[in-house]
């Protein structure tokens, strides 16, 4: 309370308490401080003064006779009524109202929030304030109801960053501007603020349907545990732990009742093993005195925690966040197409020369053409948007603008416009006036085209993965951010295998003696599993779970 900023916020919260009331869920109960009075009466008859007939009547019909006699009773003396005072039953409950919140490391864009809703309810019979604390569970821990009522999602395995808890303004919808921060552990200035939870009169019928005076019911407030993307969810997480698809981050909120007069309850006095514990509340002088309403902790055990806990004026609930990000497996392979010495196939597509005899295609020698196949497979749980890919070629190979295809021994070739002139294509491409294959043409089926493109023998891993390859993507599907693309060349030299796709490729000088191949997925048409059944909802670059995108191009060894 020394912080004037917090004090101002508390005042604001109190003034806005009515807005924060989001309904009542607990049963009504008698307000603390209520005097329960009782007045009984007793009548009797001096039998010695009754006539004989009345005595007979009294013996044979006592109820009727007494009722008759009582009807003639004299005015009665009424003495001071007995009374006891109803004490404060301190009980509050916090629950997690949502299911596991899907999150995506690295996304979404700034200003997008992952929201986990909680409700904290005053279940006592007097107004209280509560404060909220948050703890990110350690890896391997779990909690009951972390996925909502009755759902235990499993163990925690990663952490979030910059979590914040807001108090709803009453509309039940998170709004970072309208709602009020009540916990911001990493923030500057306000880090924790009290939440007033009053009681309201409810004399309209109790749990048994009957009315009674002095009945009240505690109010509830909605809280939002919020993580802002993209910095709130990262892979690896703030601890450096990898975040696997389907992994969970668990965050436990603890609500602690504090004395509405400003002092904390002494919730360490748990020596008494009974359900209700009397506490010495010396911080609040209003609770001391002959007519004091004593405060009894009645919160029982915390059902949303692993271990039983004594009444301690606290309750806990845990939210879960699940990584439903895309999980891209990115590989790059190459295969030799031909070399200048061995050639590969004759003008009729038949293997010739040494290559035919040896049943080998060619060797990695200068002048040979190598095909690179880049495979991007989405093994995650949600779709993602490919935006850009770059591939830097080393200086000892150069991009080959002609998409020279490989018929393969005994195979067929459906784009023979290259191979008909191929006798020794690797010796002099210029001799053959080859025209680039159309980029959108599926690859040779005999070469494993289509959605099930296979990479044959001779896979080289020299360029698989590694720092020379990079894929940037966003998820979920969102506005694309076009990458900077080097000066474009005709993209016909690219062949897209897998989901029929279009895109824009370009080749440029990487400034270091090599070449930089850039591919933008964010322009052109949408990727799709089947061009004939194109999904109109797909956007350029979208790659759904289980789909694979392959990109092939050729390069010549210098």
């Amino acid at each position: 309370m020394k912080n004037p900023t917090i004090k101002r916020l508390l005042l604001a919260l109190t003034a806005g308490a009515a807005l924060a009331v989001s309904g009542v869920s607990n049963a009504d109960q008698t307000a603390a401080g209520t005097s329960v009075q009782n007045t009984a009466s007793l009548t009797f008859i001096d039998l010695g003064l009754l006539d004989p007939q009345t005595l007979i009547d009294l013996a044979t019909d006592p109820a009727g006779t007494i009722a008759t006699l009582a009807a003639n009773a004299q005015p009665l003396d009424v003495l001071a009524p007995a009374e006891f005072i109803v004490d404060e039953r301190l009980d509050q409950d916090i629950t997690y109202d949502g299911a596991a919140v899907p999150v995506t490391p690295g996304g979404p864009l700034v200003g997008t929030f992952y929201v986990a809703p909680f409700t904290v309810t005053n279940e006592g019979n007097a107004p209280i304030d509560v404060v909220i604390d948050a703890e990110q569970l350690a890896s391997g821990q779990n909690r009951p109801n972390s996925g909502g009522a009755g759902v235990d999602v499993g163990n925690d395995s990663f952490d979030l960053a910059n979590i914040t808890v807001y108090l709803d303004d009453g509309d039940g919808i998170f709004n970072a501007t309208l709602d009020t921060i009540v916990l911001d552990p990493d923030g500057v200035g306000i880090q924790q603020a009290s939440i007033p939870l009053g009681v309201i009169a409810d004399n309209q019928g109790g749990v048994d349907g009957t009315e009674s005076a002095n009945q009240v019911v505690g109010v509830a407030a909605q809280l939002f545990l919020v993580v802002e993307g993209p910095n709130g969810v990262t892979d690896p997480d703030p601890n450096g732990d990898a975040v696997a698809p389907g992994a969970f981050a668990l965050v436990e909120l603890t609500s602690t009742a504090v004395d509405i007069a400003g002092g904390n309850f002494d919730n360490t006095n748990t020596a008494n093993a009974t359900n209700a514990i009397e506490v010495a509340d010396t911080a609040n002088t209003a609770d001391i005195g002959a007519d004091a309403v004593q405060t009894i902790f009645a919160d029982g055990r915390d059902v949303d925690t692993v271990a039983d806990s004594p009444p301690d004026a606290q309750d806990r609930a845990t939210a879960s966040f699940v990584n439903e990000a895309a999980d891209f497996v990115f590989t790059k392979t190459d295969e030799i197409i031909c070399d200048p010495l061995n050639g590969y196939a004759d003008a009729n597509g038949t293997p010739s020369g040494e290559a035919a005899e040896n049943q080998t295609a060619a060797f990695h020698i200068p002048g040979a053409i190598v095909r690179y196949t880049i495979t991007i497979q989405n093994n995650g749980n949600v779709g993602a948007l490919l935006t850009a890919m770059t591939d830097q070629l080393q200086g000892d190979i150069s991009y080959e603008p002609n998409f020279v295809d490989q018929p393969g021994p005994g195979g067929t070739d459906d784009d023979d416009d290259i191979e008909t002139a191929l006798g020794d294509v690797c010796n002099s491409v210029e001799d053959y006036s080859v025209s680039p294959d159309a980029g959108a043409t599926p690859a040779d089926p005999g070469n494993g085209g289509g959605n099930t493109a296979a990479v044959g023998a001779g896979i080289r891993t020299i360029l698989t993965g590694g720092p020379r390859d990079a894929v940037a993507y966003q998820s979920p599907v969102n506005a694309a951010v076009p990458p900077a693309i080097p000066p474009a060349v005709p993209n016909g030299a690219f062949a897209i295998v897998g989901p029929a796709a279009t895109g824009v490729g370009s080749v440029g000088d990487d400034g270091g003696g090599g070449q930089l191949i850039a591919f933008s997925f964010a322009t052109g048409g949408p990727l799709g599993p089947d061009p004939a059944a194109a999904d109109p909802t797909r956007v350029p670059g979208q790659l759904n779970p289980g789909e694979t995108l392959q990109i092939q191009f050729n390069a010549r060894i210098r």
């Binding site: 109960q29 008698t30 007793l42 009797f44 039998l47 009754l50 006539d51 003495l79 007995a82 009894i296």
Partner: protein, 168 residues
Amino acid sequence: MTNRPFSLRTLFASFAGIAMFVASPVALAVGEVQFTIVVDKEVEEIDAQGRRKVKTIPAEKVLPGEEVIYTIFFSNVSEKQLGGVVITDPVPASTRYVAGTAFGPGTDISYSVDGGGVYSSPDRLTVMDETGRQRLAKPAEYTNIRWLYKPVLKPNEKGYVSFRAIVR
């Protein structure tokens, strides 16, 4: 009946002043009858052997949901033969009667759902439901309890009645 010679002495007393800090019962004596009321509650204790024992203590601290026990003691402190002892007690506001707990040796017990206008046995007590039809009253709807002590209360004899209520 008014022409019959009789004398009716009526005594109204309050339940003893069981304020939370005044635990001692208050006895009231008017002429022939001493009339005492106490309010208790039960707590469970675990003894040194780990056994659970229920102990009755004065109801000084009471929370919503807790059960209290009202016990009314009466005794004839006169030399007269007394009869027709009737104890009536409204179920206190902010509490509800606990079914089946009204008790009193030698008494007939009846209840009221209209603030003491009519007393009857539970199987004859009805209230009107939302649709205007009569239905049997729930014990929580009882407003008053009446004990009719059937024996003659001779000089120096004592009796008691009790019931339980839950603080709403």
